[in-house]
Amino acid sequence: MEITDTEARWAEVIGRGFAPQGIVLGGIVDGASIGEGVRDEARQSPWYFAIGLRAAILLVWLSPLWRLGRLHTFEGLPLDERVALLELLMKSRVYPVRLALMLLKLTVCMILVGEERALRRVGAYHLSEGETLVPLGKAQP
């Protein structure tokens, strides 16, 4: 399922609420596009996951209205208020809201720490040491 350019942009703004630029692993993944990552995720995922992702984006985007009673979108809030709102939503008493926020947060983390540079930075899987893969086994095509 394809998400729109607008949804991708919203996802970028929300994602940077979770993980502001310049901070994650010293800023080495600042160049990563969360919006494009979310677009890829929606494209490759089962339809129900993609719909959940789109619903979560919309839910957060409009949350100042329904959660704070303020006539703003998420982008209309200053960064510290965006962060506070995300934390409020993650602590919501309503399970689907918490689930939606968990989905978004996990997706953002997948995109940012899933970057090769990030995995090397955290020292995952011996990546910093380099490795040699074994040749194919005899019975493989």
Binding site: G17, F18, A19, P20, I23, V24, L25, G26, G37, D40, E41, Q44, S45, P46, Y48, F49, L79, D80, R82, V83, L86, E87, M90, K91, Y95, R98, L99, M102, K105, L106, V108, C109, M110, I111, L112, V113, G114, E116, A118, L119, V122, G123, A124, Y125, H126, L127, E131, L133, V134, P135, L136, G137, K138, A139, Q140, P141
Partner: protein
């Protein structure tokens, strides 16, 4: 489609080459623990065997380590399958040649004697699953799959050593895990397939042995229906998956002797259902070992992604609380997401990833769910953990938190909605006693799936008989964890392989 009798062993990608087989003695649906072991036993007995796997065949050199990419390639529904009930619970199942054995930690546990005794006494399986035959199969599998414990100085990671220290200080009996591996270098990538071909999945072991004995293993061959005619399974219908030129081509393979369904606890019952089998208990009694993790942050680097993906288990609570505790190297992307909050504070947690240790509690859950085909989801799983299950999960998490602190952790991430996100002292672990019993307050993942085609002597309460033949249908067998009539409390790969080996040998000799 060319017509080739399955006489010469080969791995084939149907997406590129088509399904170049139209007949075999035995058609095995699924290539995981059950399918791999059944194929190996049948081929070794001189039978013509074709194994059909809907997922891809992956080479060691193709395997990566970026979670988003590998989950998409190796797991069912791109790793985004879930059970629905009181909470939404993700389910992880491999979908590739080797099935879940390709993406698990290759942990080897024989079926506990108590569990087998219960199957004999309560489900009438004494004739089908005899202990001496199973013991012989276990011994053979352990030898052929190079089973040995994780070893300090070889492939035990620092988080395994920390867990050992924590368990010992907490007085909980534990041990290094026994795994099927040969030459494990501790690259920590079991979840994505082993890049060194050290971990012994069926893809690199039993299926190769089967191919050496003449079996044909076909990837990207999705079976849609077992062909049942006159009360007998006579073949399978399917369609080619993947992205190659043969994609979407239908195929039909005749099974001269039998069709063996080994497609997992979710897909096997649904395949039988789609094939017209109408047993009353088909799709019922679905069970699992759902689990979650408790993370500890340590003052020194842990580097949990160095070492075997799972290296140590604390067993002391298995028979009392009904939980098993294991170290597990959850991918860094997922670990980071488990830290609380948002914004700068959350972002800075990424710097702490090398200092985190992740230990899991898996519960032998009382809950039983239901599997059924769904035009919306393909496979629908209804499953809700009970309050008693959640109490035991919380108790297991409390003990993990205690072990973390005793091992030197300075912070614990609880991961439970309703109690503090972070604990900083062992004096605070009483918070777990206040944990809610609502599964929606936890981040659980369901692995080790059982039931759906449970075995039993009585056709009115089971789907397959003690020989694992579907009641009322000749030539149709189920040989995977879906036949388990109860939960086991231990990792199931070894039990599945041994049971499939015994049943397939008997079938070949019949």
């Amino acid at each position: 489609m060319s017509v080739v009798a399955a006489r010469k062993g080969a791995f084939i990608d149907a997406s590129d080459e088509g399904v170049a087989v139209d007949e075999a003695d035995f058609v095995v649906v699924g290539s995981g623990a059950g399918g791999g072991a059944a194929a190996r036993a049948l081929a070794a007995a001189g039978q013509r065997v074709v194994v059909l796997e809907e997922g891809p065949f992956l080479r060691a050199a193709d395997l990566g380590y970026v979670n988003r990419r590998e989950m998409t390639r190796l797991f069912r529904n791109q790793g985004k399958m879930a059970a629905f009930g009181r909470a939404t619970t993700p389910i992880l199942q491999g979908r590739c040649v080797g099935g879940t054995t390709f993406v698990n930690s290759a942990i080897i546990w024989r079926l506990p004697e108590k569990v087998l005794a219960r199957w004999h006494a309560e489900h009438g399986l004494a004739d089908g699953l005899r202990a001496p035959e199973l013991d012989a199969a276990y011994a053979q599998i352990e030898e052929e799959m190079y089973v040995r414990p994780v070893e300090v100085g070889v492939n035990a990671g620092r988080q395994d050593l920390l867990m050992k220290a924590g368990a010992e200080k907490a007085g909980i009996v534990g041990q290094f895990l026994r795994r099927g591996e040969k030459g494990c270098q501790g690259s920590g990538r079991c979840l994505y397939g082993c890049p060194h071909e050290a971990k012994q999945s069926t893809a690199i072991n039993y299926l190769r042995r089967a191919v050496d004995d003449g079996a044909v293993v076909i990837a990207h061959a999705k079976v849609t229906r077992v062909d049942i005619s006159g009360g007998r399974a006579v073949g399978v219908h399917g369609v080619v998956d993947g992205a190659g030129p043969e994609r979407k081509q239908p195929f039909h393979i005749v099974a001269k002797r039998a069709v063996i369904v080994a497609a997992s606890a979710i897909q096997s019952p649904n395949l039988l259902h789609r094939s017209g089998v109408r047993a009353r208990h088909l799709g019922l009694h679905f069970m699992a070992h759902p689990g979650t993790t408790v993370m500890g942050l340590y003052p020194e680097r842990v580097d949990m992604w160095s070492g075997a993906s799972q290296g140590y288990e604390a067993l002391g609570l298995r028979d009392t609380v009904g939980v098993k505790l294991e170290s597990i190297n959850v991918p860094p992307e997922v670990v980071w997401a488990r830290f609380p909050g948002a914004g700068e504070k959350f972002a800075r947690y990424a710097d702490k990833l090398p200092y985190a240790a992740s230990w899991a509690v898996a519960v032998r859950a009382d809950a039983e769910g239901r599997i059924r085909p769904s035009w919306l989801f393909g496979d629908r799983v209804d499953y809700s953990l009970t309050d008693n299950d959640m109490r035991r999960v919380a108790e297991g998490m409390k003990r993990l938190a205690e072990m973390h602190f005793l091992a030197g952790a300075t912070e614990i991430v609880t991961g439970i909605y309703g109690i503090p996100d972070v604990l900083t002292s062992i004096d605070q672990i009483g918070e777990f006693d206040r944990a809610p019993t609502d599964p929606r307050c936890y981040s659980m993942v369901a692995t080790h799936l059982f039931g759906g085609c449970r075995a039993g002597r009585d056709p009115s309460t089971s789907v397959v008989d003690p020989q694992l033949k579907v009641h009322g249908v000749d030539g149709l067998y189920v040989m995977d964890a879906s036949i388990f009539p109860t939960n086991t409390g231990v990792n199931p790969q070894h039990s599945i392989m041994a049971i499939a080996t015994v049943a397939a040998r008997r079938l070949a000799a019949a």
